[in-house]
């Protein structure tokens, strides 16, 4: 089971929070900040596995009885963003690393050279991509093409009745509405794109 998927930037601003178990909003924020402090201090050369933050550490009694504990936090750092997955030991560490990679690649295909601003302004799309990959903590799809296609098709569905809709309601929802964010990116504060160069992945 995957327990959570988090995306935040270099300053700890959340860009996507998805918890597959229901926890209180304040706890979510605490967890994010704890993980951020853990992750922010790591040198680039360090491995992509984090120790458990205090919030997630086992109590001795729980450790004995329960097997559903989150035991691994896997992260990847792309340009300005950290992608984090919290999972238990039924997931494969290296597999999840790949999963983050798949996620980012899909985003890159959808946004064409994705950058942080794309994700900020299209956070609903971000959620959609994630939902195509992970549902309720289980991985449903890892094929990039299928994921991208599903998201695009769903976007087309939204367009069919769109003729009668005012634009404002759909803009943020549909990936095609990203023209504005792109402008922002050009104008914006020098946010470096998560260029496709970063995606050269040795593969495992």
């Amino acid at each position: 089971m995957i327990n959570a998927v988090l995306v935040f930037n270099n300053t700890g601003q959340p860009r996507l929070t998805k918890f597959y178990s229901q926890i209180d909003v304040n706890l979510q924020q605490r967890l994010i900040s704890e993980i951020f402090t853990l992750v922010a201090n790591r040198p680039a050369s360090a491995c992509n596995f984090l120790p458990l933050p205090p919030l997630l550490q086992k109590t001795s009694s729980e450790a004995l009885s329960d097997t559903d504990q989150p035991t691994r936090i896997i992260y990847r750092h792309y340009a300005t963003l950290y992608f984090i997955i919290i999972a238990d030991d039924l997931e494969s560490e290296l597999g999840l690393l790949d999963l983050i990679q798949v996620f980012v690649e899909c985003l890159d295909r959808i946004f064409e050279n994705v950058c942080e601003l794309d994700l900020i302004f299209n956070f609903e799309t971000l959620h959609q991509v994630l939902a195509e990959m992970i549902q309720g903590g289980g991985v449903v799809e890892v094929d990039r093409a299928t994921i991208v296609e599903s998201v695009r098709k769903a976007a087309k569905v939204t367009k069919r009745p769109q003729a009668s809709l005012p634009d404002s309601a759909t803009r943020s929802a549909s990936p095609s509405g990203r023209s504005t964010p792109t402008h922002m990116a050009h104008r914006g504060s020098g946010v470096t794109g998560i260029g496709s160069n970063d995606f050269v992945w040795s593969g495992r």
């Binding site: 959570a4 979510q28 560490e93 290296l94 549902q135």
Partner: protein
């Protein structure tokens, strides 16, 4: 008014950097208003903004009803926003959840696959037990959907359903099993995923699937699925050992052929954690396989990718249990990893290394680690460096270290986390102390390492701060898994060495001396960890004062007024150590009692008194008590010193000073105070040794020790007084003596005896016999009749008093009378001595609890830790406390999924369960029927308002014969089959439709609150019927 879109909100947020708070609260307020809007577009935009803000921690729980409205929108775009909001914000206790059933049912039957997938995905987050129960049939149907896109999601959501409603597992399992044969790989993968999760809860349900899964394993090309299948098998193999043989060929085949590192690693991991290697251990197959694994893992370590290194170390750690020798063969690469830049890899490697250390590699490994620590904290220990450069630690591997030192600071040192330092130090201690120092080649080196480590201690943790832990507490904390401060841990090691290893006791003491001497510079008041190492250091300094390099300086540093600000338990040991060192300094009676000597000693005594005076008002009870106790002794000593003229041999206490030499120092210094501390040699004792001491049968803790305590006390005082004053009848300062003899009677009592004894035999050589005669001699001081009476009285009183007897045995004082109790006339000891035994003997008593060491000066047998008296349960403190590493008492697991429902849930329905279920179903149906009946009646009543008053209750309804009949009929119909029910429901719907209460077909749960409950239940029923029809 112009409404902000999400886009505007985000831009606004970016524009208001610095005072986002105000902007957000303003926006939230706007959202509140907009969410109430009747315009669905505005409502939807508001919800979207709320989702965005929720990401930053602004709860949108209040908007759940609006979310539901948006979810039920006709437009896909809006519906999607609604579902996203539900996913992000709904909780099990969200009350609108029960209104969502119908909506979900409707969306689950949508012809649009995206709507359908939206509903399934939404459900996977918000499913509650009742939703699960109601929607299971729909989802089971969806598992056979024509589109694999839906099938995979439907399969996956089932796991969430099972978590909430385990019964669904029984009904849906056959279909789930079918999905393993699905022609779409992603569906199979999702199915495997679900079964994998389920199998961990109760693996035996899924053993029958083994052939199918095995088939998949051999054919699969999807690495994701293969990984899951391997994980699944590793939960099955413990139940079915025969699987092991079957699995080995395909898995080793994958290991040999795959190029995917993740799969390779998971195969190895599966072999290990599935117990396959354990099962095969010993067979040649098993050895080959293990060798193959280790070889691959070695490849990981060598390759240089830090992630691979990390996981390889994880796997190797697991392998040590079964194939330790194979892992040990990879020592070279593993040792390299200790030095890895990545601290998490370093720690992992260290964990492995701890299990592999032997005499040869211990020193190099520790040297490496120390260098690592040094580079971390190189800036703040320059002062210590000089001192230690000439010591063993550098001689051992001095060259390498020097090189390192030069390059060390040049490197951009990343500030390493404290817990890393903490972990490394603990590992070092664990490594060194393993098996009671079995691997320790050189103790002097170890002592130096310990001192070095104190400097590297991370800042103090709040958890174990100034709390004083006496042994009992410690044991408790130890049992509860509390974490001991790492500085204290180091101190403990130092003490362990000092006690256990006699040959380096001097070095250990000198090390402790160094720590105490430099405490003010080494441990600044703020920050700086390791302070608690002083706890043991101070103890060592006191206990082994004779080994001190410079006792004068040491007592100086012990007496520094800043010491009062140390943690309370440390101060306590200080208070205890001061008299010991003092006694060592002053008790030497071969030093002539010259005026200079007198001045020095009285100056020192004054300082001690001053120091103790400041502590005697300490807020910490323990500190205060000890300080006050010793303060009295030292005041006495001070008096005695003042009384004792230099260069004379006249002793105020003693008349018969014939044997005294010239210039004798006061006896309180040479005899009384030392007698407090010279006891049995302390031996290491297992932490639980106390428990092994059998409780004497006669021990009775219920009855008061002595009902006549008060009387005894006063008579004891009197007794003591008599004893003393008889012997010192001519002493001039009776008044003064009396003043002091009254309060700390206990101590002074001994002192007096000491003095007496010393007076009668000065040299320490002739202990035997003389004391005995002295004892009897004391009796002669008393009037014979009094003695006889008191003896008889006491014997009578204490006949059955175990405490009394025990005290003579355990008081362990240095009665230089080896014959102990028999010759020592216990009757002549006032009962007050009990306190004495407690106060002075406490440490020593504990030191000897395990075994009654009969002799004072016994060599500790085999000093390298073999000195543990306790035969079996050897558990040196240092090692024992390491066991608690890594555990933290606090921290609840928040991301936990409650899967307790599924644990041990069997697929086969137990018979009673079936019955119970049927009963439940029947009950539920009855309830539904009742409600329906009521609705129908209400409807009729509305139509014919004159027939029945509106205020009606079920009992009244029963009064109507027709109604009752109807009800019965209905029930029957329900039992007969769904068709009957359907019709009925439809009929009812019609009725309500006629009332004009709303469009049933739409069945939007958004209705006026008044009728909400009733309506939703009807709606549910309607939906049920609809589904069945469809």
């Amino acid at each position: 008014m112009f409404e902000k879109s999400l886009y505007d909100l985000i831009r606004g947020l970016r524009a208001h950097k610095g005072n986002e708070k105000a902007y957000i609260s303003q926006s939230l307020q706007e959202c509140r208003n907009e969410a109430r809007s009747n315009d669905m577009d505005i409502k939807c935009a508001a919800i979207l903004k709320l989702i965005y803000l929720e990401m930053f921690g602004h709860s949108m729980a209040w908007a759940s009803f609006h979310v539901l409205e948006v979810m039920s929108s006709q437009k896909f775009v809006q519906k999607r926003v609604g579902y996203l909001a539900a996913v992000q914000s709904f909780r099990l206790d969200t009350d609108v959840l029960m209104l969502a059933t119908n909506l979900l049912k409707k969306d689950l039957s949508s012809p649009n696959q995206f709507e359908l997938s939206l509903a399934i995905n939404g459900l996977s987050h918000i499913v509650s037990p009742s939703l699960a129960r109601d929607l299971t049939p729909d989802l089971i149907a969806k598992m056979n959907h024509s589109n694999p896109y839906i099938r995979k999601k439907a399969v996956l959501v089932m796991y969430k359903i099972f978590l909430q409603f385990p019964e669904a597992l029984r009904t849906s399992f056959p279909r789930l099993r079918e999905r393993l044969e699905d022609n779409d790989e992603t569906v199979v993968s999702a199915t495997v995923n679900v079964i994998c999760e389920l199998s961990r809860k109760n693996p035996k349900n899924y053993l029958p699937l083994a052939p199918q899964l095995f088939n998949l394993l051999t054919k699969s090309t999807n690495n994701w699925m293969t990984i899951k299948i391997i994980k699944l098998f590793s939960s099955l193999t413990p139940l079915e050992p025969r699987l092991v043989k079957k699995l080995v060929p395909p898995i080793s085949n994958i290991i040999k052929t795959t190029t995917a590192m993740s799969l390779l690693y998971e195969c190895i991991n599966g072999l290990i954690s599935g117990g396959l290697l354990t099962h095969l251990a010993g067979t040649s197959d098993g050895e080959d396989l293990a060798l193959l694994c280790v070889g691959k893992l070695r490849g990981f370590l060598v390759e240089g990718d830090s992630n691979l290194k990390y996981v390889a170390l994880l796997a190797l750690t697991k392998m040590t249990k079964t194939h330790g020798y194979l892992v040990a063969a990879e020592k070279d690469v593993i040792l390299k990893c200790i030095d890895d830049e990545d601290v998490s890899i370093g720690l992992r490697a260290l964990e492995l290394v701890v299990g592999m250390v032997d005499v040869e590699i211990l020193q190099p490994v520790v040297g490496k680690l120390l260098r690592r620590l040094r580079s971390i904290s190189s800036d703040n220990d320059i002062s210590g460096e000089v001192e230690y450069d000439n010591n063993e630690v550098d001689e051992e591997d001095g060259e390498v270290e020097l090189v390192k030192r030069e390059t060390g600071p040049a490197k951009p040192t990343v500030s390493l986390p404290d817990d890393y330092k903490d972990g490394v130090i603990r590992r070092i201690l664990e490594m060194c102390s393993k098996d009671t120092y079995a691997n320790m080649p050189d103790f002097e080196w170890y002592i130096d390492v310990l001192v070095q480590l104190v400097r590297y201690c991370p800042g103090e943790t709040k958890s174990s701060g100034g709390q004083s832990l006496d042994d009992e507490d410690f044991e408790e904390a130890y049992m509860a898994g509390g974490k001991v401060d790492v500085g204290e841990e180091i101190g403990r090691e130092l003490r362990n060495v000092a006690v256990r290893v006699k040959t380096v006791r001097r070095q250990a003491t000198e090390a402790a001396e160094l720590l105490v001497g430099r405490s003010s510079t080494m441990f600044p008041v703020s920050g700086g960890g390791g302070k608690r190492a002083l706890l043991a250091a101070a103890w060592i300094v006191g206990e082994y004062a004779e080994h001190l390099r410079n006792p004068n300086e040491t007592i100086d540093s012990l007496l520094q007024s800043s010491n009062a600000s140390l943690p309370a338990d440390v101060v306590t040991t200080y208070v205890q150590a001061i008299p010991k060192v003092y006694s060592y300094l002053t008790s030497n009676d071969s030093i002539a009692w010259t005026p200079e000597r007198k001045t020095t000693v009285s100056f020192l005594t004054n300082r001690v008194v001053e120091f103790l005076e400041t502590l005697s008002s300490s807020p910490h009870l323990e500190v205060q008590e000890r300080a006050v106790g010793f303060l009295e002794i030292f005041r006495l000593a001070k008096e005695a010193i003042a009384e004792q003229p230099a260069n004379t041999n006249r002793i105020p206490d003693e008349e018969d000073g014939a044997m005294q030499e010239e210039y004798d120092p006061p006896l309180i210094l040479t005899q009384a105070i030392p007698s407090l501390f010279h006891g049995f040699e302390l031996n290491p004792v297992a932490p639980r040794a106390q428990r092994k001491v059998p409780v004497p049968d006669t021990l009775d803790l219920e009855t008061p020790i002595n009902p006549r305590l008060a009387f005894l006390l006063s008579s004891a005082d009197y007794d003591a007084g008599v004893g003393d004053f008889d012997s010192t009848a001519a002493a001039a300062d009776e008044e003064f003596e009396k003043f002091y003899y009254q309060k700390p009677v206990v101590v002074v009592e001994t002192a007096a005896q000491r003095i007496d004894r010393a007076a009668s035999n000065v040299s320490s050589g002739d202990k035997h016999g003389v004391t005995g005669s002295y004892q009897s001699g004391e009796d002669t001081y008393l009037d014979p009749d009094i003695v006889a009476r008191r003896k008889a009285e006491r014997r009578e009183r204490n006949k059955d008093d175990p405490f009394y007897i025990g005290s003579t045995g355990a008081s362990g004082r240095t009665t230089p009378n080896p014959l102990g109790g028999e010759h020592f006339d216990i009757d002549s000891i006032p009962i007050m001595k009990l306190d004495l035994g407690d106060g002075i003997g406490s440490e020593k008593g504990e030191g000897n609890v395990g075994t009654p060491v009969p002799r004072v000066k016994v060599e500790i047998a085999g000093d390298e830790g073999d000195g543990v008296d306790d035969g079996e349960d050897i558990e040196p403190v240092g090692v024992g406390s390491m066991r608690i590493k890594g555990k933290k008492g606090k921290g609840k697991n928040i991301l936990n999924v409650d899967s307790s429902n599924l644990v041990g849930f069997s697929l086969e329905e137990p018979a009673e369960d079936l019955l119970a279920q049927e009963e439940d179903v029947a009950k539920a149906k009855k309830e539904v029927e009742r409600l329906r009946g009521e609705i129908a009646r209400a409807a009729e009543r509305v139509r014919v308002p004159t027939v029945q008053p509106i205020v009606e209750a079920p009992p009244q309804a029963q009064a109507q014969p027709t109604e009752v009949a109807k009800k019965k009929k209905k029930k029957k119909a329900v039992e007969e089959g769904d068709d009957g029910e359907k019709k009925k429901v439809k009929k009812k719907k019609k009725k309500e439709g006629e009332q004009g209460t709303g469009d049933q077909a739409e069945s939007i749960p958004v209705v006026k609150k008044k009728k909400k409950k009733r309506r939703s239940s009807t709606a549910e029923a309607g939906g049920d019927a609809g589904e069945d029809a469809g």
